[in-house]
Structure formats: structure tokens, C-alpha cells
Subunit: 250 residues, 2 copies
């Protein structure tokens, strides 16, 4: 077995389970302990993992991938369905704004064939955008570490130099009376700005966000097309009355 192959297996197993024992790897790959140790040492040097006593662990940097591990898998199926529907609204050559957030992330795989230009404030989207070779611009400004989003007044004024065919936003609260809300006022302002600059606005949110409200208001529910799933029928009916809402069916 090639060393490179071993490395790939180690990394993929790590990503699956978060940590891995040396003994486990010995059994599975049928190579000596010394070799595996060398492999781990190399991979550590490449900053692909961190060695711990007895094996290795993912290095959870607060950069690109953090938080993802907990959040990303929640409602993953729903998020993918939602993203798939959202993608159907995109036309060839559109210029679109992608908000930070995990639901919006799921939209990226659909973008390649649409040949779009993307502006985003979500640093976590970048690896994926690069993978699909999508023409990308990044909003300049201050980085909010906890969400890997770029926010602040600089970001707002940067954003206002552009116009978009469509914007795709994540949202924490969608309420029939209280409108679209998100906890951080800075983020709210950026979302609001993006909406004003876009011909069409889409809010992507799983149904757990329906009939919820958080601190800072972004806009009214009529300001955007809301795309969500059907796992929260009671809330859906409430909101359906007076909004442009699209519901994906599983």
C-alpha cells in the first residue's frame, strides 16, 4: 500500500470519527507501528491532524471548518433540499450574494454549472467555492471569529459598491409579525444591505426557525422569498398567509 493511500485513509477516518487510535490503524492498515507513527508525524507536520497520546485527533482550528462539526449535520437533509430548490432560481451568468451560514453552503455545489459570479461574506464558503472553481469575490472587513463571517461598517460600505441579481441569506428567526431577525445587529445590517442591493432575495432556513424571533430585525417576511422545509406544519400555516414562501417536500 502506498504511503499516500495510507495518509488519505487516516485523514478520512479522522474526519469520520474525530479521533483515531494507533492500535486501530495498525489493525486496519496492516503496517507496523513505526510506520504509522511516521505517518502521523508527517500529517501533523502538514497540519492535517494533531497527535495525541495513543493516536491522533482532528485539530479544531477556529478557522474555516470550526463549528461546522456540530452544526453542519443538524437538519442536513433539509438544508440540502432547501439549497436544491434555491438553486433552481439561479440563471446562467447571475451575479449573486451568498450570506454566511451552513444552509447557504449547501447551495455551492449547484453553482458551478450556472457560471455565476459570487460575492460572499462567509469565509467558511471559500474552500468549497474554490473546489468548484467558482468565480468569487470576498467582502472586505472585520472578521467575526465565532461565525467566520465578515461584518461591520467596512463590510457594509464595501457591499454597497455592488449590485446583485439574487441574494441568498441565512436567517435565525422568521416570524409572521416580527419579520426576519438574527441575533447580531452587525450581521443584520449586512443582510439588510444585501437585500437592498439585490433584485431578488431568498431566505434559506430550515423550519425550526419559523415563528421564532431573535434580537435584530433584518426586514419583513414579505421582503424575500422564504425557502424552508415542511417539518413544522403549524408554523407554516401561520406564515403562509402573508408571505412568499416556498416549501420543499422531502
Amino acid at each position: 500500500m502506498l504511503a499516500d493511500e495510507r495518509h488519505q485513509i487516516i485523514i478520512s477516518k479522522l474526519k469520520q470519527q474525530g479521533t483515531i487510535k494507533l492500535t486501530e490503524l495498525i489493525e486496519e492498515l496492516h503496517v507496523s507501528e513505526a510506520t504509522l507513527r511516521r505517518d502521523l508525524a508527517q500529517l501533523e507536520k502538514m497540519k492535517l491532524l494533531k497527535r495525541v497520546h495513543g493516536g491522533a485527533a482532528l485539530l479544531q482550528r477556529k478557522g474555516f471548518e470550526l463549528g461546522i462539526h456540530e452544526k453542519v449535520h443538524q437538519f442536513l437533509a433539509e438544508k440540502q433540499e432547501i439549497a436544491s430548490m434555491a438553486a433552481s432560481y439561479i440563471n446562467e451568468g447571475d451575479c449573486i450574494y451568498l450570506d454566511a451560514g451552513t444552509t447557504v453552503s449547501e447551495l455551492i455545489p449547484y453553482l458551478k454549472e450556472k457560471n455565476v459570479t459570487v460575492l460572499t461574506n462567509g469565509l467558511m464558503h471559500f474552500p468549497s467555492l474554490a473546489e468548484y472553481e467558482i468565480k468569487t469575490m470576498i467582502v472586505g472587513g472585520q472578521v467575526k471569529v465565532s461565525t467566520n463571517a465578515i461584518i461591520g461598517s467596512t463590510a457594509v460600505s464595501f457591499l454597497s459598491q455592488y449590485r446583485f441579481d439574487k441574494c441568498f441569506l441565512g436567517m435565525n428567526g422568521i416570524h409572521s409579525q416580527l419579520g426576519l431577525t438574527t441575533p447580531d445587529p452587525e450581521e443584520a445590517l449586512l443582510k439588510k444591505t444585501a437585500m437592498q442591493l439585490s433584485s431578488e432575495c431568498y431566505v434559506l432556513a430550515d423550519s425550526s426557525k419559523l415563528n421564532e424571533a431573535t434580537f435584530a430585525k433584518v426586514g419583513d417576511i414579505t421582503d424575500a422569498v422564504i425557502i424552508t422545509d415542511s417539518n413544522n406544519q403549524s408554523a407554516l400555516e401561520e406564515i403562509r398567509k402573508n408571505s412568499k414562501i416556498k416549501v420543499v417536500t422531502p
Copy 2:
């Protein structure tokens, strides 16, 4: 069997399995080891695969993690020494600009205790900056996928809204007559802009860059303090004459 035929088989098998062993190919194609080695060397040169010990692997240029890593390890010890010296020039509370590039990356661990504010155009720095919880701003603009750097006119005009105490730049060529150079004119322009906006400029480059020149000129060697290692004495003497150069000793 035609050479071209072999090449196609190699590539298709690679795409199937991700990696391939040389011994495997020998058995399957019934040609000598030497020939296959030559084949792999050629295909590698055409960037259709990457040779690894024992065979070959697909080169995954996807996103971040790989591709860069080959470079990361070259001269790593030197880069760390250089970064360490560069760090000694930083004062508490400085506002600094960090250029994209692997050498500059090594500077980041030293920044935490200095309590600096960082503006950078290097997306690859972000995970590390986040890890050390450094106050960070990102330059807005177009992303150049191959280097994960933000460049272009937007980036330049974004940059010019700021002033820095120090800037730390990577550089591809440092030549006593031809000055500081880098292959991409867009990147050169951004570096140049950063230098004009900074009170003090530092160029971080291992000694393999000395007495080399590439396409686009950034400035003269007197425009910045050059920090390099001592592994290229002949080039050092040439440059030492008329520049502010600092040499780290291993």
C-alpha cells in the same frame, strides 16, 4: 503498445482508484519498470498526476489543503527562523499588513502576545489567525484561487483606506539591480500599495529568492528591510552592499 496508449490507461486507472502502484502497472502493461517510470515522469510534467514513492496519485488541487502543502515544507526551518526575527520588530498594539504567502504564515504564532491588529489579503492565513484569536480584517476583492490571495483593483482601493505601522511581504525575486519582483502584476501592485501605506516594510524570503528576478517589479531593495537566511552566501554578499538586509543564522 504505444506510449500514448499506456498513458491513457494509467490516467484512467488513476481516476478509478485515486492512486496506483508502479508494480501494479508493470504487471498490467507488461513493460519494464524504467519505461513506466519515464511515463509517470512525463505525466507528472504535464500535471496529470503527482508521483509518490511507489507509484502515483491524483493531484487534488481542490480548495485548500493540498497543493499548498508541498510548498509549505520547503525551507520550513528557514521560514520559521525568518518569521521569528521578523516578529521581533513588532511592537505591542501595532497595526500590520500581512501579505499572502507561506513564509508570512509562520509569523502568525508570534502575533498573539503582541496584541496587534492585522489586515491581510491571504485567505490561507485565516485559520491560523482565528486559532490564535488575533483581531483580523480581510481585504475585499477578487480571489485568486491558485494562491488563495485576494487581488485586483478592488483590493487595491480597499487597501488604500488604511495605514499600517508595518507590513510583512513575501517576494519571489530579490535582485540587487532589478529590485523586488513577483510573477503576477496584480499581486505586485497590491504589494506596492501596501508598502506605500506602511511606515516600515519587511520582506520575508528564504535565500533561494536572492539574486532572482521575476516579471513584475514591486520596488527597489532599499524600499524594505529584507529578512532572509544564510544558506546562499554568494548571493548575500552581492545584495548586502546596497540594502537593508537582516540575515538569520540557523
